[in-house]
Symmetry: C2
Subunit: 210 residues, 2 copies
């Protein structure tokens, strides 16, 4: 029986607080065994029916990266347009992705055609397959932060464009596009709080009773 | 600048390995401050645009719990029916939920109507809101395991039935239904591996290059 002590729990709480979405990266490379170690830990994540539907793709080709950056820029411009004047001004001042600087790009897919797990747990909630991939992203993120790496999750993208650019199987659904590298600066508060976009709702988690 | 040492990383890797989906619970209660502590840590999870869309509902009312158990039993019987003879025999031997024994039930919703975050990051990938709730579930799970608690994620349920039974706002979408309590036994391998349903695909995470 494995148990965890109070000192570990205290440091784990600090890891949760200092995880953060990073958009400002140094350009120096990430040590390969260290990246692999974080990915291997992500493979320990929960998955519905033990389906392990996560598929991690490293995007290194400069032309493919440029396509992803172009998709981000289109989506980001459209998003800015959709806001009223005041919000738009705040929006365009935000730095929302570190795609140009981050040494590692990881596109994370869900293999919707997988037979692994034999469909267990997915009949009434088929979205569980994608949720399993999200847990792997979160595990990777925590493992990376514990190694001093920063991760930024970019969702201001056209998923179809990313799939086409990377030439992945049609049954693969894009769940996350991650920038990975060493952060320029580190914070315990979210960038969107620091830059006045959205404050925390309250301290702690409210619990509703039924 | 907070950094994490090798000893912490080693124990974190053990936490990932020993997390596990638990279906066999002791019935003794969970200490309230301990549960609250795990929930508060879940509030530190990443969320798109800092939208914090997670809504945690504790289900204590025996009639409501009975409705949830009934939904599980209907879905589980239907799922068994859908398999061929051999798989069905394996399926019905599995214990897939600890709903009757677990002292704490948590239904976790995504508030799809929230304006928190002002829509940032959700225009082209609206599913990001639900994914944010999944990261909170995974954070809660790890925090709970570090406290010696077990968590089981039940997806063999009718989401509409759960929403109606709990009388939550229409805009709340069920993401997860969690059983929480002290586990009867602990393992580092998944129950579905141990009972021959689905093995691990391979050691570690394959990385595809593009």
């Amino acid at each position: 029986m494995v148990s965890f002590d109070a000192a570990f729990r205290q440091t784990l709480a600090e890891l949760f607080a200092w995880r953060r979405d990073v958009r400002r990266f140094r350009t120096d490379p990430v040590d390969e065994p260290l990246l692999r170690r974080c990915l291997d830990l992500a493979a320990l994540s929960p998955s519905v029916g033990n389906s392990q539907p996560w598929r991690f793709v490293r995007v290194s080709d400069p032309l493919r990266r440029a396509e992803v950056v172009a998709s981000f820029e289109r989506c980001n411009a459209d998003a800015a347009e959709a806001y009223g004047a005041e919000r738009r001004e705040a929006y365009v001042r935000l730095k929302l992705a570190g795609l140009r600087e981050a040494p590692v790009h990881l596109a994370v897919f869900c293999d919707e055609a997988t037979e692994t797990g034999h469909g267990l747990g997915r009949a009434t909630m088929p979205e569980m397959l994608r949720y399993s991939v999200v847990t792997a992203v979160q595990t990777f993120w925590l493992a990376a932060r514990a190694q001093g790496l920063g991760v930024g999750w970019v969702s201001i993208l056209e998923p179809e464009t990313v799939c086409e650019t990377l030439g992945v199987p049609c049954a693969w659904h894009l769940v996350a596009y991650l920038c990975v590298g060493y952060p320029v600066e580190e914070h315990a508060d979210p960038e969107l709080v620091r830059h006045g976009w959205q404050q925390r709702l309250e301290t702690g988690m409210p619990l509703i009773e039924r």
